[in-house]
């Protein structure tokens, strides 16, 4: 490996080095606070190394990974989300007896997996990154409570995600049989035939399963509901984001969307996700399940940016809209699950997950209620929030590439979604107090993280210029 390759790999090396130090620290000195701080330091160092070491032009590392502005942007989001998750989890887990330190190791390994996926250009690294992420998530879901819900959620996720991985692996084997190569770029090179198409469809089925797009979405609400709130936030953002980044690079590099069977299948899945996700969210009484269905719909929206790649000559527009949307989605989802985590505690009777738990929140804690209100409005795509900017970019990319059926689904889906997001806000203004729920003590670090996130949702809504400029700058070196 050359110096340039080592330098490009600096984020991965930093986080792995930090992981080793964390393991040693935990082995000799078991303390929740020390483990928490060392995880934060590791992830902060990773953020710094991404900011300083991301190369201007794409740098290929050992043919398996490629580091460019695209990968750097997503890695930055994942590491930042890791920091947010650790911050929220500290207060959430604090006070539970025994074995809290391993949680932070798992957050760091999951982030390593997500970062690998953002850089992958070979099926081997794709699969390894995906499995590191999934294996860490199984334990994170089952982590805190002695109750049945997290274990049940983890078991469901383990089995269904195992099936998805197997489907994907079989698809990769079929692609290898047809093309004789495991690089994304050689997918379409001198290979055709039914096995080749079948392989691509199986691969995309596996990915759609993990992204919880509609025919493969059944696991999502159960897992979101059963998992502890900070972990749910992590699954909803990093797990989905990493898969989407991977899918985006795969589509860009391999030109898989030029296969009409794949294009039609993905369009159908996207439209179904937008409509069915929003319709199923309407009647939910549980905020976590509501957000699960809403995330299914949001993944459907994001597929527009992916499908726009095939129709546009200038792919940078589509990629830019996907990057803006993902940032918005990360901010909104992290804030929503942050509010749930801050209202919950691993010690007590489960999470504050019912919408009725939030009735009267405006009178009890106006600031927190405002944060949740802004988030809900942003998820619905109201102007002056980041959700609107994100949807605007998506719409622009869709219009430019003439994806009218998908845009109609986006409009209808968004219109339906306003109802259930407003319902949450309405519940918060109700006068009655929740009968059972005493909201636990909060700490300044969780509160300030949450307020910062809520402020970012609002500020980026009317002043998105810095982020747009940053993305443009990162994409300038992006060749394809």
């Amino acid at each position: 490996m050359s110096t340039a390759e080592y330098l490009a790999l600096a984020p991965l090396l930093t986080i792995s080095g930090g992981l080793t130090i964390m393991l040693l620290v935990i082995a000799f000195f078991r303390s929740h606070r020390v483990a928490h701080v060392s995880a934060l330091v590791t992830l902060a160092a990773t953020v710094l190394s991404i900011l300083t070491c991301t190369p201007d032009s794409p740098q290929v590392v050992l043919d398996l990974l490629v580091v460019d502005g695209f990968a750097g942007y997503f890695m930055l989001l994942f590491a930042a989300m890791g920091i947010i998750t650790c911050t929220l989890a500290y207060r959430y887990l604090e006070g539970r007896s025994g074995g809290l330190e391993e949680f932070y190791i798992l957050v760091v390994t999951a982030t390593i997996g997500a970062m690998t996926m953002a850089m992958a250009q070979h099926y081997a690294t794709l699969l390894l990154g995906l499995e590191i992420l999934s294996i860490s998530l199984y334990t994170m879901i089952a982590y805190p409570q002695e109750t049945h819900a997290p274990l049940e959620a983890a078991t469901k996720y383990l089995i269904l995600s195992g099936v998805a991985s197997t489907t994907m692996l079989f698809g990769i084997a079929l692609i290898f049989m047809a093309s004789g190569d495991l690089y994304f770029s050689s997918l379409m090179a001198d290979a055709s035939g039914p096995y080749h198409t079948l392989g691509q469809l199986m691969l995309l089925t596996g990915l759609a399963f993990k992204l919880s797009l509609v025919p493969f979405h059944m696991w999502t609400p159960d897992v979101y509901q059963g998992a502890p709130a900070p972990v749910t936030g992590y699954i909803a953002t990093v797990s989905k984001g990493a898969l989407f980044a991977l899918l985006l690079r795969f589509a860009l590099v391999s030109d898989v969307l030029s296969v009409s069977a794949v294009f039609v299948a993905l369009s159908t899945i996207a439209i179904a996700s937008m409509i069915i996700g929003n319709v199923l969210a309407l009647m939910q009484q549980n905020l976590k399940r509501l957000l699960a269905y809403s995330s299914i719909a949001h993944m459907g929206y994001m597929m527009i940016a992916l499908l726009a790649i095939s129709a546009l000559t200038d792919t940078a527009t589509a990629v830019e809209s996907a990057m803006v949307y993902l940032l918005g989605y990360f901010l909104m989802t992290a804030t929503a699950f942050g509010v749930i985590s801050i209202q919950s505690n691993a010690k007590e009777n489960g999470d504050a997950e019912l919408i009725s738990h939030y009735s009267g929140l405006f009178w009890r804690n106006p600031l927190l209620a405002s944060v949740l209100t802004v988030t809900m409005l942003s998820l619905a795509g109201m102007p002056l929030t980041v959700g609107f900017i994100a949807k605007f970019y998506l719409f622009a990319a869709g219009v430019e590439s003439n994806l009218w059926a998908l845009l109609w689904a986006l409009v209808i889906g968004s219109a339906i979604s306003v109802y259930y997001y407003i319902k949450v806000i309405f519940t918060m203004t109700l006068n009655e107090q929740p009968d059972s729920y005493a909201h636990p003590e909060t700490t300044w670090s969780t509160r300030s993280t949450l307020y910062a996130l809520g402020l970012a949702v609002l500020v980026l809504g009317f002043y998105p210029t810095p982020v747009i400029e940053l993305i443009g700058q990162l994409l300038s070196g992006f060749s394809d």
Binding site: L62, E102, I105, T125, I135
Partner: protein, 175 residues
């Protein structure tokens, strides 16, 4: 001839796998699973990957499957299960696994004694020696080896955490 052997091994593997998923008894299913893995090892050998074939036997058929078998056997404790287990291993239960393994054994003997197929290569492709596998793993695929180690670390930490909780609950139950 090697192509013919490939199809026989493939047939054995498919038959054994079908029997795995139709058995009502976990121990019997596991025995068929071991046969299926042995057949896959023969296929690997025929395709020119002797190292992968050896790993398949040592790790899958050897370590993991025996572990499975032990767990299945240890979960059923008590007098009634001993009687039950005596019914598991009636002589007629061994007929089918015996036939399948004999086919694989004959294939292996043929491969070892037949002079033309000493390298164990099928009609196309080249044999990959263990040395080449090692050089590839620690050369161009170095990063996948490191990532695999992180994958194992994550699963180890996870298993430790979940297992410890289970053991603690068991201790409280006994006390």
């Amino acid at each position: 001839m090697e192509v013919f052997l490939f199809y026989i091994a493939g047939f054995v593997s498919l038959t054994a796998t079908m029997l795995v998923i139709t058995r009502m008894n976990a121990s019997h299913a596991l025995i068929y699973l071991i046969i299926s893995l042995l057949a896959i090892a023969v296929i690997f050998y025929l395709l020119g990957a002797p190292f992968a074939a050896a790993l398949e036997i040592v790790i899958y058929a050897g370590a993991i499957m025996v572990l499975f078998l032990f767990v299945v056997m240890m979960l059923n404790l008590g007098r009634s299960s001993v009687d039950q287990e005596q019914h598991w291993f009636l002589p007629r239960m061994w007929v089918m696994p015996g036939i399948l393994t004999t086919i694989l054994l004959l294939e292996m003997i043929y491969l070892l004694v037949a002079p033309t197929s000493s390298a164990g290569i099928s009609s196309s492709g080249t044999a990959v020696s263990p040395k080449e596998v090692g050089i590839t793993l620690f050369g161009p695929y170095l990063i996948t080896v490191e990532l695999a180690s992180i994958l194992l670390l994550a699963s180890l930490v996870g298993t430790y955490h979940l297992g410890r909780r289970y053991l603690r609950a068991r201790r409280e139950e006994i006390a």
